[in-house]
Symmetry: C2
Subunit: 118 residues, 2 copies
Amino acid sequence: MSNYAKVHTGDEPRTELHDKLGLTGAEVSINHVPAKGGVPFVHSHKENEEIYIILSGKGQAVIDGETVPLTAGDCMLIQPNAKRQLSASNDEGMSYICIQAKAGSLDEFTAEDAVIEQ
Amino acid sequence: MSNYAKVHTGDEPRTELHDKLGLTGAEVSINHVPAKGGVPFVHSHKENEEIYIILSGKGQAVIDGETVPLTAGDCMLIQPNAKRQLSASNDEGMSYICIQAKAGSLDEFTAEDAVIEQ
């Protein structure tokens, strides 16, 4: 079995990578939301923190009632229990990546988790 | 304490989000590599799977000796023990996101982990 998996994504409204790639440590989605569009409900999470990376455009997140403006280059962590709703702006869409990972699950990373090969 | 954290990133060669945002379930880096540039060593990981999302440009990954071409829109999972080395192409740089998450750590996600608020 190969030690990697690869898929190509385009401008689909939402691509979820967990099942496509066989992820076991995170779910990752790539989202392209048109102007005035957004997630149609407020939600929180049981276990997972969410990390948002805004790729282009602009919009906003409402987090526990606070409005947070979002623009390309913004990176945001939202704690599991926060009540959140994301939407694009009225005049411009927004593309973003959303990463779900279990809060507290990461032990080591980067240098500590790496093995440099000779 | 706020239930979220946000930072803005630009064209820095590498931005690591773990410490900036206080991540506990993943490490996420945003990387802009110039033409002919790349990670200067081959490495594997002890615990973490890596997920790569190519944002722009092109390059390649060498995984266990196999060369995998990469271009904007490609998404790739690399298993922890695979020996890997990424680089941009000779005539064009490559921007990508790298996510490290502990293999096997994700329990539920999306609908199963979400709580829809009234």
